[in-house]
């Protein structure tokens, strides 16, 4: 039996900058030099003011669960033996929101403090994930 390959991003443009940084275990976002807004995902034009001077920043990777869902059904064969799996929208302290999976928590709730942990999907792609803040478990 062959293990299904994971669904993999094929980054284009600014997405490439984000995923290249993730490969270096950096979670990146931007701030706008013109209006000061925090911007995520990475863009060429600020969605708040239209400014084109956007500064790449590294997040500390610390935030709180804005919402979550425990999925019992897999969206792709790769996830079939990974369900139930918890996906969360996390509000990072720098003021942006990221969707990722949350591991090592059976007691997830809105507001729970979490932190980012990076894991190689394969030799090309590294993805940020979240775990409850201060817990040591590695994501499965």
């Amino acid at each position: 039996m062959t293990t299904p390959l994971p669904p993999k991003p094929t980054p284009r443009g600014e997405e490439r900058v984000y995923f290249d940084a993730a490969a270096e275990n950096r979670l990146t976002y931007q701030t706008c030099d013109t209006c000061g807004s925090t911007v995520f995902y990475l863009r060429d034009v600020c969605p708040h003011c239209g400014g084109e001077s956007l500064r790449l920043r590294d997040s500390a990777g610390v935030g709180k669960v804005y919402s979550y869902t425990v999925q019992n059904r897999a969206s792709h064969p790769y996830f079939a033996d990974r369900t139930p799996m918890t996906l969360a929208l996390v509000d990072l302290e720098e003021g942006f929101r990221l969707l990722a999976d949350l591991t090592g928590a059976d007691d997830v709730e809105v507001g729970m403090p979490v932190e980012v942990v990076f894991r190689e999907l394969d030799e090309d792609v590294t993805l940020p994930h979240f775990r409850p803040r201060g817990r040591e478990e590695e994501p499965k």
Binding site: R12, E15, Y66, S67, S75, L99, A100, V110, G111
Partner: protein, 379 residues
């Protein structure tokens, strides 16, 4: 200048709203189109404006022109997901009023049920969502539902009441597929899909075709059925992906509805029936709040009090909706057809007596796009 009351829906039709065999999405749309024109007393050769969208065909107005053998002089394939067809009503009215076309056909077809498991979506790759296995769209609505619960104390039992009310309406619709009642326990005991949502918190997966025909209010006087006037329309949208939705429990429906009701010159007290996109129990609940049928955060109590079931204060989704009647990928056309039936007095045992004004509201994707229409029997 306004398009209020300048155009009317003069023909509607639905075909194969549960399952079909051997018919393509274009074939279903074509069959519905032919019947909607016949309903109006018009012919395919009368159509000079074509409005459609599709997740099957990348240039759907070209596909449908060829399939139907028509040569429209105005086409619009605005793609806003399931609410597209409600937006098309406004676009068609503007085009008719501007003299760009005279008879506008809005149509849709899907073989979502027959294709199940075989259909490859043509949706674009979402770099920030798909690597994590987010199940579209139910995973997104799970995120939305848990946020609504945390913020407002909404319960799974209250969400289940939405599905139960939809089934009660569906029991009055001879075309609905499941002629047996549903209980709150049935919903809560159905398969968990993406917490807090269960299988029965989700819409049906069906095939289906539907169409509507619009023309000027003047021309509508001479056709086969009583005109249903387009009194107001509004659109609003703000995101594509759920991870970019600014607030999971507040949507742009507020603005599309305000625009449509202001154009129509109606208030909530004037609305006899409402037809609101119910892809999931939580999506309907949030839309009821944002459309102003109850205050923000009180959707759970509003549905639990029986307001949306037959006999309640709001005649909502009287055909059984996406949750219990039909949901062939996009629901918008089927909200329009039921509103027109109600306003013509053709809704059988589920008829709201004396219905004169109906509100139709659709959403696209995960509460991302919104289109509202107000329809009425007087211009």
């Amino acid at each position: 200048m306004t398009i209020r009351g300048k155009t009317a829906i003069v023909g509607i039709a639905e075909v194969d709203t549960f399952e079909t065999r051997g018919r393509s999405p274009a074939g279903l749309a074509a069959a519905a189109s032919k019947r909607a024109l016949a309903d109006a007393g018009l012919e395919l050769s009368d159509v000079d404006g074509l409005f459609t969208t599709s997740s099957y065909y990348s240039m759907p107005t070209l596909t449908m022109s060829e399939y139907l053998g028509i040569k429209p002089r105005y086409t619009d394939s605005t793609a806003l997901g399931g609410c597209s067809f409600i937006a098309h009503l406004g676009h068609a009215a503007a085009a008719i009023e501007a003299g760009l076309c005279d008879v506008a056909l809005v149509c849709y077809g899907s073989t979502q049920r027959s294709d199940r498991g075989k259909l490859v979506s043509n949706a674009e790759w979402l770099a920030y969502e798909q690597p994590y296995g987010l199940l579209h769209p139910v995973g997104s609505f799970g995120l939305i539902a848990n946020r609504h619960m945390a913020q407002f104390g909404t319960t799974s039992e209250q969400l289940a009441q939405v599905a139960v009310a939809a089934r009660e309406w569906a029991l009055l619709n001879p075309a609905a597929p499941y002629p047996k009642p549903l209980t709150v326990d049935d919903v809560l005991e159905s398969t968990p899909i993406a917490s807090p949502l269960h299988k029965l918190d989700c819409c049906l997966v069906t095939d289906g075709g539907a169409a509507a025909v619009l023309t000027s209010a003047a021309r509508a006087q001479d056709l086969a059925k009583p005109p249903v006037y387009l009194l107001g329309t509004g659109e609003a949208s703000n995101h594509r992906n759920v991870s970019q939705m600014p607030d999971l429990t507040a949507t742009e429906a507020t603005h599309s509805a305000e625009r449509a009701m202001q154009m129509a010159g109606v208030t909530h007290a004037d609305i006899d029936t409402a037809h609101v996109y119910d892809a999931f129990t939580i999506s309907l609940l949030i839309l009821l709040e944002d459309l102003g049928f109850c205050p923000k955060g009180e959707g759970g109590a509003f549905v639990a009090d029986g307001n949306i079931a037959p006999g309640g204060s709001l005649a909502l989704n009287t055909n059984g909706g996406g949750l219990s009647y039909t949901h062939p990928g996009m629901l918008g056309m089927f909200l329009i057809t039921e509103a027109v039936r109600q306003l013509r007095g053709e809704a059988g045992v589920r008829q709201k007596p004396g219905a004169a004004v109906s509100l139709v509201h659709g959403m696209g994707l995960t509460l991302a796009a919104h289109a509202t229409a107000v329809l009425g029997i007087s211009p």
